[in-house]
């Protein structure tokens, strides 16, 4: 099982003729993901190493049965690409692109609500999603994952790899790992992922990797109170100074908002063990899995 992506997933890569799009389309395919189509407006009819390219997402869906997209287009075109994918009726749109204007992302998500586009957006500015052994959509390094019972959701890319690598080397496999993205506005938040993990029969425990900025961790902590499965949390940026943007557009403590202390406190109050260091995460997970 796993969540959002799986054996049923058929991916169209938007921006497949670009350098990043092509490189990662091949890596996804190597992992075993069904990459059935690519889209580059004006390049329809082309072929990227056997993957047919279409001018529109709708055409790609019509001809190949694609049901998920991975977006690699430049930031100026990012929101438009996500909207096109949603309008074409895709179930899942994973937007890797970094640097899309915040109000554009907000507008697309709002339009989706008004027009009842039902697809789920992950990202933007995210590393993607992998349901281990079944489908990888995005830029995560496939070889570090190992199928198993732990779900993982994170706002960071490399920190996710770090933790997954540690879990895998301890023999602890993963069901689905999701990077929700480092921007202030993202399509899928922690609580959305936790709700799905709670329903997923293959997931037995969840690791949540948060960071400073916003209040998604606090909202997640409130949701965890309603869950039956154990969640282990980690929050990065405990030593980050206020008012400074730490790499991610969304990773900033503004005034008293978005501090690591507030997030750690929210988790602790919800009964969630918070790892003090990266290496402690695997110990805590091993503990709850027994």
């Amino acid at each position: 099982m796993g969540i959002f992506a799986g054996e049923h997933t058929r991916v169209v890569v938007q921006g497949i003729t670009g350098r990043e799009g092509k490189f990662h389309a091949f890596r996804m395919r190597e992992y075993g993901t069904e990459v059935v189509a690519g889209v580059t407006p004006g390049r329809g009819g082309a072929d990227v190493d056997g993957i047919p390219v279409f001018d529109t997402v709708a055409e790609a869906v019509d001809r190949t049965g694609a049901n998920a997209s991975c977006v690699f287009v430049p930031p100026g075109a990012g929101a438009d690409a996500v909207a096109e994918a949603l309008a074409a009726g895709l179930d899942l749109v994973v937007c890797i692109t970094e640097g899309i204007p915040t109000l554009d992302v907000m507008s697309v998500l709002d339009t989706a609500k008004v027009r009842a586009w039902r697809g789920r957006v992950i990202g933007p500015n995210c590393p993607g999603i992998v349901t281990c052994g079944k489908a990888l959509i995005g830029i995560m390094p496939g070889r570090i994952f190992k199928p198993g019972p732990v779900g993982l959701v994170s706002r960071s890319g490399t920190l996710t790899y770090e933790v997954v690598n540690m879990l895998t080397s301890r023999g602890i496999g993963q069901s689905t790992c999701i990077g929700v993205g480092g921007d202030p506005i993202v399509g899928t938040n922690f609580a959305d992922c936790l709700a799905e993990f709670e329903r997923d029969p293959e997931t037995e425990a969840i690791v949540l990797i948060g960071e400073i900025g916003g209040q998604d961790e606090e909202d997640a902590a409130a949701f965890i109170r309603t869950m039956t499965k154990p969640v282990i949390a980690f929050v990065s940026g405990r030593t980050a100074p206020p008012g400074k943007r730490m790499g991610h557009a969304g990773a900033i403590v503004s005034g008293s908002m978005g501090t690591a202390e507030s997030k750690v406190k929210a988790f602790r109050e919800a009964g969630v063990p918070v790892a003090e260091s990266i290496s402690e995460i695997a110990d805590l997970v091993a503990g709850v899995l027994r």
Binding site: L109, I139, S156, G157, L159, I185, S236, G237
Partner: protein, 379 residues
Amino acid sequence: MKLHEYQAKEIMRRYGIRTPRGEVATTALQACEIASRLGVPVAVKAQVHVGGRGKAGGIAVASSPEEAKFAASRILGMSIKGLTVTKVLVEEAVKAAREYYVGITIDRAKRSVVIMACGEGGVDIEEVASRTPEKIARTWVSPREGLQPWEARALALAAGFDRAAIPSSGAYLASLFQLFVREDASLAEINPLMLTEDDKVIAADAKITVDDNALLRHPEYQALSEEDTDDPLEKEAHRRHLTYVKLDGNIGVIGNGAGLVMATLDAISAEGGRAANFLDIGGGARADVVKNALELILMDVRVKAILINVFGGITRCDEVASGLLSAADSVGVKVPMVVRLAGTREEEGKALLRKTAVVALDTMGEAARHAVALAAGGR
């Protein structure tokens, strides 16, 4: 990207929001001339990208051009939270009968734009929000829609604005929303919004922050961009296009990915050390980016040890290693360097470092511990 008050007011005027008349001066003499042109009293206000300038003495009221000159000569060149004041806004001093707050920003949790109004202005709005949240009226509007003047009036009423201020405040809020969307702001704030004794509404202070991600479609703001720092290292980082934040410790840090670098800083702190900086080389960095980053860290005289932490997903460890070696070749490394490489092409990367003085370790925890010990030993 933060705009100065005078820039924000200029933009607000374009959207029909009334502001005090004023001009920018870079010398005391100019300030004197502006004051005599405008007529006194005037306010002389430091233009710096930090909060709390009033408390720091960066604002003065002058009742003659001579006083304005004196105030400007005092404020120009002063340092506010580490930033040198190079410009002052000289504007007509406005007398308030009442002060309010209005602000528009992004609500991340609601994925919407939030408009806030408060019957008390000139206050620290965050403090009001945490102590007496009921004093702030809020409404959420999608950027695809507009804020209608009637909604804005209702908000001003709910916030407890005086009746005389309602029509103009409503119109200004609707304009401010238009400004927010068209200019791709992430914050547009008037604090205080003043009701004058002759019942006019005027923006006495103004703040606009533009979404960095939207600068690609606003070349006019790119031209205004000035570094909100006097720090030579931060300036150099900007010039080198590196994602860098200066911190107050003595361990130089380079890593890939914002979350991983933040966690590295935390690991250093957990081991009892202090990082000198945050530096993210991003995903897929090539050798030249690594070299560029290391050269910058080596310019920092406070640095007693360097910790490089890379988890290779799309970044290749051998690229990182060769970048480190070429930087070491070109500038020379006089401080100890601890490198932790994992992931893609880890073995190749480690092999490159084997013949060097670099300490290569396998885990982030070990590497942090080692770097802290080296920094302490070298003190």
